[in-house]
């Protein structure tokens, strides 16, 4: 039993706005006309398509495979025909395009043959479980999208003491985990037991913010059945960002994830409830990850949660919630604190999309920055920072682009939760300053790496040229030396006329013969000028001059061609 919760530093209390979207039960969203499936729905290398345009696929069929260790496959969310493989807008703040697979559903929604391991998961080795989870395309559904199979692989020497099931869902408006816990508590608990087995974890804590009474009740009810399995449902205080991994671990265990480290370094693994339910479906039913609960909230006529196939466009979902209440000016993927505003409304739902928040100017909360005042160092930001940074110092350094100083003040420990920004009386876009600084540092690092590589290559280039020059010079020297020796040798042999002469004789004879041949040829070819008999003195003089010039030219030509030959040698 947990006897004590730890209060993490900072945090803010935000109006929750969770009631409106929890009124209706979750229903599956209708299958849209087209599904656009990005190959990057997770952290890591994009998946590699294994289908072709025009190919027919069944629901649950793998259409792109993991490319590398940190990667995840993509499966067809429904049966249909591959319409296109090309670049489409991603749900990413950049508004960039990236490779997507487009499926035109055939309406049959026909599954491939599924092979589940209902009940007998305990017979499976943790590594077999990991393989199933990996090939089912499961990634963290809480928002980050880290491939779950990697998280389930702590390494042979690590002992996982606590498995924390994250049901905090601390961001305002988002209720998809809440609804999942209310409706699928048994699936979550079963998934939790599988995860526990895969990690060989000692205990499981299900942490839920205390404002979700129905979810807590439902989870406690489901956990009762497995009372002997060391599972505990814990209500944690409602304070943003209680659901952030670092903060929830501290709340439960009182331990801090070391810098540059992972929770498993302190014997903890933290997993989202949605991910856990997906693990259950993958192991028990063999179903890959093809849909998820998504909250559609904000300025729509009927805010609610829907079970959405990946690839469904946000626009379709807004339509299914009765449309927006006014002209949409902003669409946020994720919550209002950490979500990303999108440049387009047609972006698809992917594995990490937990909420689509619509801002049509009707919700007073969703503010637009009117002005930014100077920082007055009021320190409200430092008070609320859950990782104990000095946000205003980071702001000054980011503004002045003092990238060394900002790293000294640990900008990379910032979790971008937005608390500082939320309370800033000057309404400074602090989080954007940190994001800018981080991406600028990464850019500089890439550039430095590149220029270092270029320097190395250039130095090697210089070295190579010098070496070749030296080698050539050496060769030339050796040749000359060899010639000299040879010449001396021939001279000597001529003088002495000893045994060497025998060897030299055939050679000399050949040379003499060749010269003879040339002479003969020349003699044959020689065309005697016919009008050279009666020449005036002036003409004779001209002729000799011309002959001289020709001879000179011939000489220079010869030497040039020799040079050219040398050049050719060099190049080759």
């Amino acid at each position: 039993m947990i006897s004590k919760l730890f209060k993490f530093k900072g945090g803010v209390h935000i109006p929750q706005h969770k009631e409106s979207s929890t009124q209706l039960a979750v229903e599956p969203a209708s299958i849209p006309k087209r599904l656009i499936l990005p190959l990057t729905q997770h952290i890591g290398t994009p998946a590699a398509p294994i289908v072709e345009v025009g190919q027919k696929v069944l629901k649950g069929e793998k259409i792109a495979q993991a490319d590398g260790y940190v990667s995840a496959p993509v499966h067809a969310p429904t049966s249909g025909i591959i319409e296109d493989i090309g670049d489409y807008p991603l749900p990413h703040p950049s508004g960039m395009l990236a490779q997507c697979i487009v499926i035109k559903p055939d309406g049959e929604d026909r599954w491939i043959e599924l092979k589940g391991h209902s009940g007998d998961y305990k017979q499976l080795d943790p590594s077999e479980l990991r393989n199933i989870i990996r090939s089912s395309g499961i990634v963290g559904l809480g928002g980050a999208g880290f491939p779950t199979s990697i998280k389930h692989n702590p390494g042979p020497d690590r002992v996982i003491d606590t498995l924390i099931l994250n049901g905090a869902e601390c961001e305002p408006y988002i209720t998809c985990d809440d609804m999942l816990m209310r409706e699928k508590s048994r699936e979550i608990i079963c998934g939790l037991l599988i995860t526990k087995h895969a990690l060989q974890a000692k205990r499981c804590i299900i942490a839920i913010e205390n404002n979700k009474t129905l979810a807590i009740e439902s989870m406690q009810q489901a956990a009762k059945e497995f009372a002997d399995r060391n599972i505990e449902v814990v209500a944690i205080p409602t304070v943003y960002p209680a659901g952030s991994e670092k903060q929830i671990i501290y709340t439960i265990t009182g331990k801090e994830t070391p810098k540059n480290g992972l929770p498993l370094h302190i014997g903890v693994v933290c997993q989202n409830v949605g991910t856990t339910a997906a693990v259950y479906r993958a192991i028990h039913h063999g179903e890959p990850l093809i849909s998820r609960y998504v909250t559609i909230a904000g300025d729509v006529k009927q805010p609610r949660n829907l079970e959405v196939l990946f690839g469904t466009s946000a626009n379709d979902l807004i339509e299914q919630c009765g449309g927006s209440t006014a002209d949409i000016r902003r669409i946020i993927i994720g919550g209002p604190m950490m979500g990303f505003a999108m440049q387009q409304i047609t972006i698809p739902v992917i594995k990490t999309t937990n909420c689509i928040l619509i801002d049509a100017g009707q919700t007073k909360d969703l503010h637009t920055r009117q002005y930014t005042m100077p920082c007055i160092r009021c320190d409200s930001c430092a008070d609320v920072c859950p990782v104990n940074l000095l946000p205003q110092q980071l702001y000054w350094f980011s503004k002045a682009q003092e990238l060394d100083r900002i790293q000294e003040y640990n900008v990379f420990d910032c979790i971008e939760c937005g608390c500082c920004d939320y309370v800033c009386p000057s309404q400074i876009p602090l989080v954007q300053y940190y994001r800018f600084a981080k991406s600028e540092i990464w850019k500089r690092e890439r550039e430095t790496q590149k220029s270092d590589a270029a320097r190395d290559r250039h130095e090697f280039h210089q070295f190579r040229i010098d070496r070749e020059k030296a080698e050539k010079a050496e060769k030339l020297r050796q040749k000359k030396a060899a010639l000299k020796i040879k010449k001396q040798a021939t001279d000597q042999s001529n003088e002495i006329g000893n045994n060497d002469k025998k060897e030299a004789e055939p050679k000399n004879a050949a040379i003499v013969a060749a010269m003879e041949r040339v002479k003969a040829k020349k003699a044959q070819q020689k065309v005697e000028p016919k009008n050279t008999d009666d020449l005036t003195d002036h003409q004779k003089k001209l002729v000799t001059e011309i002959d001289q010039r020709r001879a000179e030219q011939r000489e220079t030509q010869v030497s040039n061609s020799n040079d050219n030959a040398k050049m050719d040698n060099k190049e080759l």
Binding site: L90, T372, M373, Q432, S439, E440, A454, H458
Partner: protein
């Protein structure tokens, strides 16, 4: 009088010894400044600065023979970094050396390439592979965009292409502060100066 002279003389001697000793003891070895400057240069080896490479330019800056604004590939960023390192004023890029342009690489149109090897000889970082009468190819990941291979090419088959932006290189923009700084450009400059 005498004692004052003695005291001053003694002090001078002591300080002299200390200074002389530390000058020998803490002498800075070599000339790391050139290395430091070279580290900030983009290593394109393009020669637009008027020196045969980045290292010679670095040496020239260190000897105060060259200004810090002669490197178009590095652009404003490099000028800022150099100014910070050398404690000099930030000056705009010298237009005589060229203009800062978007980062790019070159690619060889392999249909047109005749395999003359002239570009291979021009490349300062050996980022072009190929042999005589064989088609050449540029190792794109190594190319620094110095464009030195373009003038020697007899068939103009080398094309400058901007580096493709993707999600891994995408960057958050620096925020523009609404209200105070946006309303007036001059006001922005004034803040920056402070």
């Amino acid at each position: 009088m005498l004692s004052a002279i003695l005291v001053v003389g003694l002090l001078a001697t002591i300080f002299g010894i200390v200074l002389g000793f530390s000058a020998v003891k803490f002498k800075v070895q070599g000339d790391p400044l050139v290395e430091k400057i070279d580290k900030l240069l983009p290593q394109t080896q393009c020669g637009q600065c008027g020196y045969p490479g980045c290292k010679p330019y670095a040496a020239a800056i260190a000897n105060e023979a060259a200004e810090i604004n002669q490197c178009p590939p590095g652009g404003e960023q490099t000028i800022q970094d150099l100014a910070a390192l050398l404690n000099r004023e930030i000056i705009p890029l010298n237009p005589e050396n060229g203009a800062e342009k978007e980062k790019s690489v070159v690619i060889i149109d392999e249909e047109t390439c005749i395999g003359c090897t002239l570009c291979i000889q021009a490349c300062p970082i050996d980022a072009i592979v190929g042999a005589a009468k064989q088609m050449h190819t540029i190792i794109e990941s190594e190319c620094t965009g110095c464009d030195l291979c373009i003038p020697p090419c007899p068939v103009d088959c080398i094309i400058i292409t901007p580096i493709k932006k993707d999600l891994t290189t995408w960057q958050w923009a620096k925020p523009t502060e609404l209200g105070i700084n946006n309303s007036d450009k001059q006001a922005q400059v004034a803040t920056d100066d402070q």
